[in-house]
Each structure stands twice: as structure tokens, then as C-alpha cells.
């Protein structure tokens, strides 16, 4: 099997091979991490999808490769010697054809970054902006290994601001500090004219595509969370702080149960509806340095409430620590966004293609609510759905929200 630069999301066209996690001769099991790949969304642990032995490695660390570039040959059970011989020839030809110069392990083979250097002032497409930015990141990562002395924070800020540390090193005596980087950024950029970072551009590309291609419908309904929250409070009161469940985990769990009953909303549109049996909800998580990632909670349909909370913790920790796995980056079947902590009442999201639905939650608010003939104050959350109108109709979405409401009125079943 030829191991190629993986596509870690619909908006990815290339990635930097940051580090091999294996060497030739290593035996791998399905799900093992073969390499760390740097993308606009951070460092991703790329997993292997079949058992096998690493036969040959040709991809060079620190180099940027377009998606699909052969990086290694892995011998799996299915491969006979003849197949492996052919694959080795193919991989070596690919590596030879595009091989960087001997001392140029740092050099990118991605064409648009070279082009960018030559035509820096020409207007760029969104894709070129994204991959140009990635190439710069990589350049600096390599320089930092060389002779440039800079603090880790300075390197981080330089990456974020698109500042060339090599240029800066000519002007700064001694080790470059974050303050030096900020200063030169102030001189270079007028306020508001700073170049958007790679992640912003990746989000821009995916969301523009979504709004251009997907006819959305939007529905929303208020759900009384009073009994669910008081049930959760009783549950948490009996537990140590380490084992407490957040309302967000309860809501994810409820969404997953509702999707089991309305499976049309879980899956993809690929020239036709393609429902997914597994439910891997992408959970919108803000990164500390800005931007948002929606990594997949793999096999959420098999989890109980505690497992859902553990999986949520793991996703948040990995997102903020910049260490998601390739399956977490690519296998989302639906998206859940919870802007609750920011205090908005409702959220109407934009579907991440090729998914067909996005479920949103606002903040849990105390609201006047009719109970029988009286008005009571209840804790209420506004649940919404953005649906792909090619795949489903509003009726499907309405059915989903009704199921979700019913499930949240009987939270003990979510344990």
C-alpha cells in the first residue's frame, strides 16, 4: 500500500510532513499514528487505516506536500512481492521527480508557494492565500532550527502575524523576543489590514462553498431544560469533581439519540443523499489562539453519558493542545455547535460540506414559561437546526427537534 499525504478535511490541499512517528521495518496496527502532519488547523496525528509493515519512507520531514503525494510504502497482508516492487518504483519515481535539492530538506515541493514568492504582489486566490501561509509557517519552523535565535513565543507570534524571522534577525541583536515581532508587525501593517491567518482562510473557503452550494433551511425551538439540569445536578452532587458531567455533554448525548431516530440528518450529500450508519458528530470547539475546529467525536452512537463527557474532554484538550488525530479531523457526519457560553440566545449555523445538517444550541436562559395554566420561570435552551434542503425537508428537521425535546425531558435514559 502506498501511504500518501492524507486529506484531513475538505478544505485541505497540502500539508507539511512534520515528523515521521515510525521507521522502516516498524510493524503498525490499524489506528496507529504513522506521522504528524502540520495543517492550517495545527498538528494532526495521521493514523494508518490498515495493519502493515513500513517498507520504505521517502517523504522528508519539514517538507510540504500536496494531498495524494506518495510518502511511504507499507506492506499489508494483501500485498505480494510483485505489488511491493511496483509500489516502491512508483514511490521512488514520485520522490525522485520532485526531490528537493540535497541540502534543501527545507524546500517546499508545493508549487504555489514558489509562485507566491515570485508574484508576491499579484492578487491571490483564497487557496493560494491558505497554502502560501502554510508555506511561510514551514519556512520559519525550519529557520528556527538553523541559526535564528528567537523565543518560542516570538516564533509563535511571527507565524501568526506572517513576519519573516530571518529578515527580523538582521535587525535585532541577540535573541528575538515577542516584543520585537509585535513592533515590526505594527510598522508593517496598518490597523485592520493584517493578513488573515491560514485557519481563517480555510474557514472562509469552506463556508463560502457551503453558502454557494447548499440551500439551507433553518428551524428552531425552545426546549425546557429545567428537569434535565436538576437531574444532572443531583447526579453531579453524588460525584467527585473529576467525574462531573457538563450540560454540553448531556446535550451532545441527546442529539446523538435523536439522530438515531432521524438518520436522514446524519451523513452527506454527494450527488445524492448518503446517510451514515455511524454517528461521528463534529463538535465546534474554539481554539485559544483564535479560530474554531469541529473535530469528530468518533462512534458517539456507542457511548453512554460518562463516555460522552470523557470524549468531549479529550476533544477539547486535543484541540487546544493542537494534537487531533486524522480520523477526528475527517470523519464528521454532522456538526453540533454550542455558543451557549458566549451568551447568545439562538444560533443558526452554516453546514460544513458535504454534511447535511448542523445542530445549534444557545445559552440556557431563565425564561417565563407556561406550565398548565400558570406562568413559571424555567431554564430554557433554544435548539436549532440548519438542514441541507436537497437532502431533507423542514419536516425532517422539525421531527428531529421534537425527538430532541422529548429525549431531554427524560434525561435518565441518557445515562
Amino acid at each position: 500500500m502506498i501511504y500518501k499525504m492524507p486529506s484531513l478535511g475538505a478544505d485541505m490541499e497540502s500539508g507539511i510532513l512534520a515528523e515521521w512517528k515510525v521507521k522502516e521495518g516498524d510493524r503498525l496496527k490499524k489506528g496507529d499514528v504513522i506521522a504528524d502532519i502540520e495543517t492550517s488547523k495545527g498538528i494532526i496525528e495521521a493514523e494508518i487505516y490498515e495493519d502493515g509493515t513500513v517498507e520504505k519512507i521517502v517523504g522528508k520531514e519539514g517538507t510540504e506536500y500536496p494531498v495524494g503525494t506518495p510518502l511511504a510504502v507499507v506492506r499489508t497482508e494483501k500485498d505480494d512481492d510483485e505489488t511491493i516492487r511496483k509500489e516502491l518504483a512508483e514511490v521512488e519515481a514520485a520522490a525522485g521527480g520532485e526531490a528537493p535539492k540535497e541540502e534543501g530538506a527545507a524546500e517546499t515541493v508545493f508549487p504555489s508557494s514558489e509562485k507566491e514568492e515570485q508574484t508576491a504582489s499579484a492578487p491571490k486566490s483564497a487557496a493560494e492565500e491558505i497554502f502560501g501561509a502554510i508555506a511561510e509557517t514551514k519556512d520559519e519552523a525550519v529557520q528556527e532550527v538553523g541559526r535564528i535565535r528567537a523565543t518560542p513565543l516570538a516564533r509563535k507570534r511571527a507565524r501568526e502575524l506572517g513576519i519573516d524571522l530571518k529578515e527580523l534577525a538582521k535587525r535585532v541583536r541577540g535573541k528575538i523576543s515577542a516584543r520585537d515581532v509585535e513592533e515590526v508587525a505594527r510598522q508593517l501593517f496598518k490597523p485592520g489590514a493584517a493578513k488573515p491567518d491560514a485557519m481563517r482562510m480555510a474557514i472562509a473557503a469552506a463556508m463560502s462553498r457551503s453558502n454557494a452550494e447548499i440551500p439551507h433551511y433553518y428551524l428552531s425551538t425552545p426546549i425546557d431544560m429545567t428537569s434535565a439540569l436538576s437531574w444532572l445536578r443531583d447526579l453531579n452532587a453524588k460525584r467527585s469533581i473529576k467525574d462531573r458531567i457538563l450540560p454540553a455533554a448531556l446535550m451532545i448525548r441527546a442529539v446523538v439519540e435523536a439522530l438515531k431516530e432521524v438518520p436522514e440528518l446524519n451523513g452527506f450529500w454527494k450527488e445524492g443523499p448518503v446517510p451514515s450508519e455511524a454517528i461521528h458528530p463534529g463538535i465546534a470547539i474554539a481554539r485559544r489562539e483564535g479560530g474554531l475546529i469541529t473535530p469528530a467525536m468518533i462512534d458517539a452512537h456507542k457511548m453512554n453519558l460518562d463516555e460522552t463527557m470523557q470524549a468531549l474532554s479529550d476533544l477539547i484538550t486535543r484541540t487546544r493542545g493542537g494534537k487531533l488525530t486524522s480520523s477526528q479531523m475527517t470523519e464528521q457526519t454532522v456538526t453540533i455547535t454550542n455558543l451557549g457560553d458566549l451568551g447568545v440566545e439562538k444560533v443558526f449555523g452554516v453546514i460544513y460540506p458535504p454534511q447535511v445538517a448542523l445542530i445549534g444550541f444557545g445559552r440556557i436562559m431563565e425564561r417565563p414559561w407556561a406550565v398548565g395554566d400558570a406562568i413559571a420561570v424555567r431554564k430554557v435552551v433554544e435548539a436549532s437546526i440548519a438542514g441541507d434542503h436537497r437532502a431533507t425537508d423542514g419536516r425532517t428537521g422539525a421531527l428531529f427537534l421534537a425527538k430532541l425535546d422529548k429525549i431531554l425531558q427524560n434525561p435518565e435514559e441518557l445515562l
Binding site: 445536578r233 453531579n236 452532587a237 469533581i241 457538563l246 454540553a248 485559544r288 451557549g340 457560553d341
Partner: protein
């Protein structure tokens, strides 16, 4: 532990949870989640870290009593006795 020491422990725990605020002065009387832009997950992590460091677990019904740095220092100093 003096109140000053408790405050120092809390501030250090905040820096660990939200490293982007490292070195900043944490406002005493403002809602911590709002002023530091930390979500309910971070807040739970902060209380978990403090439970380990200070030996006091804040039950959910007392979350309202630990909403600011000042309240948090008072709460832990009252419960550590």
C-alpha cells in the same frame, strides 16, 4: 494557608488553564469566566485543579460563590479551616 497564598495558588491555576493570560493581573471583582473568556469546560478544569491543590471540592450549587477571584479566595479560605 494565608489568603495571599490561596490567591497565589488560584492565579497560578488560572495561568495553567488559560496560558494566554500568563503574567496578566487577574481582575479581583469581575466574573472570571467573562473577563478571561473561559468556558464551562475550563471552569470545571480550574475547580478540579484547585480541588487537588487546596483539598476543597466546590459543589455545583456553590458555583455562584466562586464567580470572581475575590469570592474564590474567600470561599477556599473559609472551607479550608
Amino acid at each position: 494557608m494565608t489568603k495571599e497564598e490561596i490567591k497565589k495558588t488560584i492565579v497560578e491555576a488560572i495561568y495553567e488553564i488559560a496560558p494566554e493570560h500568563e503574567g496578566e493581573e487577574i481582575p479581583e471583582k469581575e466574573n472570571l469566566q467573562e473577563s478571561l473568556e473561559i468556558d464551562s469546560y475550563d471552569f470545571l478544569n480550574l475547580l478540579t485543579a484547585l480541588a487537588e491543590k487546596l483539598g476543597v471540592e466546590v459543589p455545583e450549587e456553590d458555583y455562584g460563590k466562586v464567580d470572581t477571584l475575590e469570592h474564590m479566595v474567600d470561599y477556599f479560605s473559609n472551607h479550608m479551616k
